[in-house]
């Protein structure tokens, strides 16, 4: 079993990550409008929407790459809006970037080690999590000494997620994990994500593939033009007529 995330003052079911009424701009153009979003402990939340809907910006606001112009971002009730990426990562949010972004000429093991950077002083903990990640993704264990760049697309995605887990985050953000994967690999990928969630992780997925994301999520948010168009229980969203027509291609 993957160990319970460190320093978790919030009990299950409490909101640990919260965006309230966030506005955000890119240059002069406003990208996010009054956006509110909540993630509970041990919950999987899916944020879906088309290109340009503001998904990436939402993620960038959470991770600290973009400062919110208005509104607040809190983690465990503490404001993190406006903190730098490094500070936010230290506080327990780790983002698995779009297109995987494996370090191509470092080995699988080295990639994972770099992932544990912020917990580098806890050698024992790192070793433990490394074992857990390798058992979660046996193929990574098999290829531990090959270069990241030589892995297949699916394997790279596993490595990227594994690398994110190495930081032992309170909240794991996944940015378009299905991007560039074939349908079959996408299916497998989301099954992996569900396994991770089942182990008690809190996960926020930002995804274009609405069906796959909602399938594994507890809660869902539909973004359109920088606003939350719909939100609610993932089961309800997947049955929602508007969602089905617009995003599920029914």
């Amino acid at each position: 079993m993957l160990s319970v995330p460190e320093n978790s003052p919030a009990g299950a079911g409490e909101f640990i990550l919260k965006l309230s009424n966030v506005d955000s701009y890119y240059g002069k153009a406003q990208i996010l409008f009054d956006l509110s979003l909540e993630v509970k402990e041990r919950e999987v939340v899916a944020v879906i929407g088309a290109n340009g809907a503001g998904k990436s910006t939402t993620l960038n606001v959470i991770i600290g790459r973009v400062k919110p112009a208005a509104g607040s971002v809190t983690l465990d009730g503490e404001s993190i809006g406006g903190d730098g990426i490094q500070a936010i990562v230290k506080k327990g949010i780790t983002c698995v970037p779009q297109r995987r972004r494996i370090f191509p000429t470092m080995t699988v093991r080295e990639n994972l080690e770099v992932g544990s950077y912020i917990r580098r002083h806890d050698k024992a903990g790192t070793r433990r999590v490394m074992e857990e990640v390798l058992s979660l993704f046996p193929v990574l264990a098999k290829k531990a000494n090959s270069l990241g760049g030589l892995l297949s697309g699916g394997e790279q995605q596993m490595l990227a997620i594994g690398r994110g887990l190495m930081a032992r985050p309170r909240v794991l953000l996944l940015d378009e994990p299905s991007m560039g994967l074939s349908p079959k690999l996408t299916t497998e990928m989301f099954e992996d994500i569900r396994r991770i969630a089942d182990m008690g992780r809190t996960v926020l997925i930002v995804e274009q593939n609405a069906y796959a994301a909602l399938s594994v999520a507890d809660q869902g948010y539909v973004l359109e033009n920088g606003r939350v168009a719909l939100s609610g229980d993932a089961d309800d969203l997947i049955e929602n007529d508007y969602v089905r027509q617009t995003y599920l291609g029914a």
Partner: protein
């Protein structure tokens, strides 16, 4: 920035006139001489701007071209006593030919490697001039060159040459501005922005690079020639590598790629140290740090000023400025929604057009347009394609699908000439195209779009499309610059067709926008317009729908259907099975470089091999246990 184009012309004219005044105001010979020097270097640096700023080849040897022009004309005048007006053109031609030769090298050696190569050639030039004293006068230079006396101007040589040099500089810059706008200018910029896209869209990058190099050397030779006529003395020390670096400095300080900025850059690099002379031993240090500060604070500063002034002669600047102003007025959300509305409207219009015209649509004839015969491709040890064979029939849409790494993109690259096949061949209309360079493949009638949109960012939308037009494909530098009737007619035709193509995509209103200012969806449409403007026989689409949404997807699908109805044959790589099934007549499935299936959409989708390798099962509708909430 509300000053109109007309007023800018007036401002520019006033500045030009102001430049003519100093000799009449009794400005001393020293200041005039510094300006003379600046004009000469401005001409030479303009060559570097063409090669480095506009075409993207880093040239660190311009001093050698300048020296070549200077020594050739100097030697002709001293050796054969030919007059300067014969010696100078001969020197320019000779240098231009040598430059073209080096241009051939530049097609193989690129970027930093080219920089160091040209630097080396500069050093070789210095050594030859230094050591071949019998010819060049050796280390003490070529000394007895007759200077050009223009007694009408009065005063010393500096005064006499000031106005002729300034007029020459203005003429040369006007010529460069003209070339910039011609088809050749567009090709140079396309290569700089994205040479791979340029090559596969019909730009003969080899010819363009060679010509750009030749132009660079010609401008260098001209500058060298007038240097000789003005100063009457040249030595190896006039043409050291450091001088080449200085010219690159002018180009960069002037805002890389800006023609007008180069002139300002030359004024700064030649003039600033002179102004700082008062600081005696500190002046070079001050100069050095000033350059750093300029580049750190306003990297394009001088270029912006110059381009603003020269806007009436630059492509699309006016429309661009307007569009920018408009974009600033509106919030992003409005443009996104507007864009979506527009796309939907276009889609609706296209659909109704198609439904009306459907009767006359040519049916797929069934004869083979493209034949892929046992094609294999290896990268290093990895075989991306193994013995793949399939046909594309005239008038059909063929879908190419397969998991990541299955070789789809390699296949498209092979068909468009970007990638050389290791074995097998590809035939278009019975002629082998797999050995041709990408631009010849394009000329033969194969056009494409790229997976991650590759437009030429610095160019306007209209220019992006015009680059690919067959009428302006050939590299006619001279006729273009002169503006012969034929060149103008070709240009008009290309513009008209480009606008039509933009119309089809519903984005004609963006024609004068800079491509870098476009949204992703708009860029995709520009790319599509660009790929059909030469009326290709075969269109290769690499994930055309990636990153598009709602209205744009609808529009794209309608456009493709429209194209097919017009008789175009299309090969499309796409991930979204639904889109593929709805769009394609037949489908080829690749897996790990092997073709594993071919046939109608329905038959392929049912093929167990395909299902296993590619489609997989649906994501199971099973969520993790809600019960977990109670576990703690």
């Amino acid at each position: 920035m509300k000053i109109s184009m007309r007023n800018r012309k007036i401002i520019l004219a006033a500045i030009l006139v102001a430049f003519l005044l100093p000799p009449f105001l009794g400005v001393n010979g020293y200041a005039l001489q510094v300006l003379d020097m600046a004009f000469i270097y401005a001409i030479a640096a303009l060559g570097v701007t063409i090669a480095t700023g506009i075409t993207g080849m880093v040239v660190l040897g311009q001093a050698a071209f300048m020296g070549l022009g200077a020594y050739t004309s100097g030697l002709i005048m001293t050796g054969t006593s030919l007059p300067w007006w014969l010696a100078l053109p001969i020197a320019i031609v000779v240098t231009g030919l040598i430059g073209a030769g080096l241009g051939l090298i530049s097609t193989r050696i690129k970027e930093h490697y080219l920089a160091i190569t040209t630097l080396g050639l500069n050093e070789i030039f210095r050594l030859i001039v230094l050591n071949e004293s019998w010819l060049t006068g050796g280390p003490f230079g070529l000394r007895d060159i007759p200077t050009l006396q223009i007694p009408v101007m009065g005063g010393g040589l500096a005064q006499q040459h000031y106005i002729p040099l300034f007029v020459l500089t203005v003429l040369v810059y006007a010529l460069a501005l003209r070339i910039y706008k011609t088809s050749f200018g567009r090709q140079m910029r396309a290569i700089r922005d994205d040479d791979l896209a340029a090559e596969s869209m019909g730009v003969n990058s080899r010819a363009v690079r060679v010509m750009a190099f030749a132009l660079c050397s010609i401008f260098g030779a001209l500058a060298g020639g007038v240097f000789v006529l003005t100063f009457g003395f040249i030595s190896p020390n006039n043409f050291l590598v450091f001088e080449s670096i200085k010219m690159l400095l002018m180009v960069v300080v002037g805002g890389l790629g800006s023609i007008g900025g180069t002139f300002l850059g030359a004024l700064v690099v030649v003039g600033l140290p002179e102004v700082l002379r008062e600081f005696q031993t500190y002046y070079l240090a001050i100069f050095g740090i000033t350059v750093v500060i300029i580049l750190l604070t306003v990297p394009r500063g001088l270029g912006i000023i110059a381009d603003w002034l020269l806007a009436p002669w630059l492509p699309g600047e006016e429309g661009n400025a307007l569009a920018q102003a408009k974009a600033e007025d509106m919030s992003n959300a409005a443009t996104i929604e507007e864009e979506d509305e527009r796309a939907t409207a276009v889609a609706v219009r296209l659909r109704s057009e198609r439904e009306q015209a459907v009767v006359n649509a040519p049916k797929a004839t069934g004869d083979v347009l493209l034949k892929v015969e046992n094609v294999s491709k290896s990268f290093g040890g990895i075989r991306a394609l193994k013995d793949v064979r399939f046909d594309i029939r005239r008038g059909e849409i063929l879908g190419l699908i397969g998991p990541n790494g299955s070789g789809k993109s390699t296949m498209i690259n092979a068909c468009s000439g970007i990638v050389r096949v290791t074995a097998g061949k590809i035939l278009l209309d019975g002629k082998v195209i797999s050995h041709l360079p990408a631009w010849d493949v394009h000329a033969a009638g194969v056009s494409r779009i790229f997976q991650n949109v590759r437009v030429w960012n610095s160019m306007t939308v209209l220019e992006n499309v015009m680059v690919c037009h067959a009428a302006t494909r050939d590299t006619h530098v001279i006729t273009g610059a002169i503006g012969t009737a034929k060149a103008r007619a070709d240009e008009d035709m290309a513009r008209e067709d480009a606008l039509k193509a933009l119309d089809l995509m519903g984005i004609r209103h963006l024609a004068n926008r800079r491509a870098s200012d476009l949204s992703f969806g708009q860029s995709r449409l520009v790319e599509l317009a660009r790929s059909i403007v030469n009326k290709p026989k075969l269109l290769l689409l690499d994930e055309p729908g990636a990153g598009l949404r709602g209205g744009l997807i609808m529009e794209l699908a309608e456009i493709l259907k429209q194209l097919r109805n017009q008789g175009m044959t299309i090969l499309v790589v796409e991930h979204r099975v639904k889109l593929v099934v709805s769009m394609c007549d037949r489908i080829v499935v690749l897996n790990l470089g092997d073709k594993i299936a071919e046939g109608s959409a329905q038959s392929v989708a049912r093929d167990p091999v395909v299902v296993d390798a590619y489609l997989g099962g649906k994501v199971e509708r099973k969520r993790r246990l809600k019960a977990i909430e109670t576990t703690t």
